[in-house]
Symmetry: C2
Subunit: 498 residues, 2 copies
Amino acid sequence: MNLEQSFRERVKKIKAYIYVLQVIGWDSNTEAPRNSFKRRGEVLSEISKELFMLQASPEAVKSVNEMYDKIDTFDDHLQREVKKAKKTVDKIVNIPQAEYIEYQKLINDSQIIWEDAKKNNDYDSFKENLRKIFAFNKKFALYYDANANPYDTLLDDYEEGMSQKEYDIFFNTLKSDLVPFVKEVLKADKKDYSKFLNDKFDVKKQELFCDYLTDVLNFNRNSGLMKKSVHPFTWNTSPDDVRFTTKYLENYVLSSIYAAIHELGHATYEQQISTEFDDTLLNGGTSMGIHESQSRFYENIIGRSHEFWEAHLPKFKELFPEQTKNMTVDDMFYAVNQVEASMIRIEADELTYPLHIMLRYDIERMMINGEITVDELPKIWIDKMEEYLGIRPANDSEGVLQDVHWSGGMIGYFPTYALGTAYSAQIYNTMKKELDVERLIKENKISKINEWLKDKLHKYGSSKTPKELLLMITNEDFNPKYYVEYLKEKYTRLYLSK
Amino acid sequence: MNLEQSFRERVKKIKAYIYVLQVIGWDSNTEAPRNSFKRRGEVLSEISKELFMLQASPEAVKSVNEMYDKIDTFDDHLQREVKKAKKTVDKIVNIPQAEYIEYQKLINDSQIIWEDAKKNNDYDSFKENLRKIFAFNKKFALYYDANANPYDTLLDDYEEGMSQKEYDIFFNTLKSDLVPFVKEVLKADKKDYSKFLNDKFDVKKQELFCDYLTDVLNFNRNSGLMKKSVHPFTWNTSPDDVRFTTKYLENYVLSSIYAAIHELGHATYEQQISTEFDDTLLNGGTSMGIHESQSRFYENIIGRSHEFWEAHLPKFKELFPEQTKNMTVDDMFYAVNQVEASMIRIEADELTYPLHIMLRYDIERMMINGEITVDELPKIWIDKMEEYLGIRPANDSEGVLQDVHWSGGMIGYFPTYALGTAYSAQIYNTMKKELDVERLIKENKISKINEWLKDKLHKYGSSKTPKELLLMITNEDFNPKYYVEYLKEKYTRLYLSK
């Protein structure tokens, strides 16, 4: 077997192991009974060991390095695959095994410690773990590249090509342009839709409405399915098997609707990737940020538009005649676009959401760069909430303890949420020049929008970097102005133009 | 690592691979989208290859053989594990690889050919595959043991310790004692419950009733779950994760109820096995026959008893007041114990069911022993239906083509269905001496029955042979008289005692 063949064989095997871990993960997150997890953990550790060996055994490392030495002789796709494989290898090989194992255990333990800390509003019990997690992440980043700023390395892990330089420009734009605008909107008079929003909506009928959305948004059910779970997510092994979940709350109907639409954005991206990448390392969406741009595009630009409810309010009213008596499209448009300064990121509206992310970026940056300690975190959090949103969390559970990410070792992930949303505005700006988007939404011709996205973005899978894609689609590099413009235009129209 | 440690390590790994294959199988059989199966097939073949190597590589075979050489030095459990491992190895090693691969392909192809043949009532299109499947099974049996009768080898595969000698005694008892009795019952006057049985029952409410049964039959939902699927089945990876499915038909409410109770029997067995066997080859139920004894015990002896409906008819009437107006426990008891000569095994009632199995045993036996050819099968089937049940199938779809088993290569499996049911009558005979079974069912104290079964049978997993278990529980070897007595007593009371 020549070098390339043996690389292909190994990739095929690696992907088979990832596939089985994914299927088990799907089961764990949607229906596995609680007592199953002990034994499952043992099995997963056996299978993960095999996968680790396939990716990082001396033989595997040698094969990847030999391929890398010859990289110039390969075509574009294989070059990109080899680069990805090389990065995976380089991320692991320099970490001393003992540290790697200690870190895995730390992450494992931190999950429950964080859960308890959040439940009991007890930051101190979690602080030391958090300190270690940041310290390990910094150390591992330096093992990978001793000459780079470690936070830059971490940021690049979650969004290829991004560093503090680019993010600073982005968030500084938000700070200067968006923060004052948000304060203005928050002060404006608004009609109160809380009675409707917190009305009781039968969960079985919510399911019917989410089923309806799944169909009208053109999801291919022969290549996927919708289910429910505690935390909504999208899952995929190939474009032929893409699944997503939503979450039903009897007293907040928008939860299931917007979780479903958000995940449908992720799912549509995955379903529309070319199957030619199935057996390669180039399958799946190319980055967290680009993925989030698709989910946010679906959720906000499509799903929170006036036109969307022009098309779909009739069905909604048919299912919930009592709760929607006398309700107009305008009412629904305002109800789904309520703006409010709130403590919890995942419950934030479209306008205030990026400010929650900005705060987290500031903190991660200072932590990794050694400018603050874990002891100072809670107070900094509270002060920044006041600075950006004008509110002060009453306790750490609704402050620094609210998110799962840091306890899971994910440092550098948060910024992709805001970045992805900003990408979506930039992509939307281009799309509008080529498609009559409003009309397509109003006439329920989402398939035309999906086709455009497939052709410009989805089909490429991970074969292009986020930067390359954005340039190809919009003819320029990432530019935060489209995002700020989009938000200002929409929310001026909603709340400031009277 | 010494011999035993390396055996244990290998077993642990083998079990991890079986576990992931099982999780994927659960997903495939309950919800995977149809387009997912192509890629899934490729992944499964990668993983199966790994599993095959773990079980049958020269190194694995050597390890098992070395353990087998020292078997006398091990404790009972390890002895039994080594014997099982040795049998698995011996089943494979003598088959030339080319033949093994050809057979896998044959089985794979035969599935669809059989489905189409059944749909189109076209036995001829399936005949040649069926001939090859029987031929391969015979050949492989002879590779394993050239001196044994090949059908005996196949029977032992599905039920350890059973051969034609034992089965002949069993089925000859049925032929002489049960066939004339069934004919008598078939002739007796019976009230017609078909209007009730084919009434419309809302599927959502059927689900509620199956949920109710799952709870009253004491299934542990923290260690399992119920779901729906096209073909009901039970699934387990350990006693901490046991799942079962049922099937809902709007116009035949007994389908979901008795499939659920049947699978609950299998599931209860699996949940009550000692977890000490989790990492060994002794986990899970010990044989097809013993497993079927538990499902049939639940389904027929508990679920079709007068006492069961004394306890649970009120709940059923509460869910379906319209369909059950004026219905008495007697009515329900008769409705669930209708006897009828029918063409299809899986729809047969408790009394006529074993005669369907007897017919299949006769045919398998003659086929493997070279007494008949595939050309003669359809006619023999029809003639035997007439002999045993007094009816003649109108075509092969409701005759020789009705079952999936042979197309899947399962020759020797059918007899365990009848055997298991007969085991259950023998076990019941002992149980009645120690427990007031009728009263416990009537007072809904199933947990007492479960405890008895756990203590006498379930907890042992596969650490005992079917033969050993039956002797331990009932103090005698398998004896078909209990089964015939049970059926005669029940159905005389129902239909012949007026």
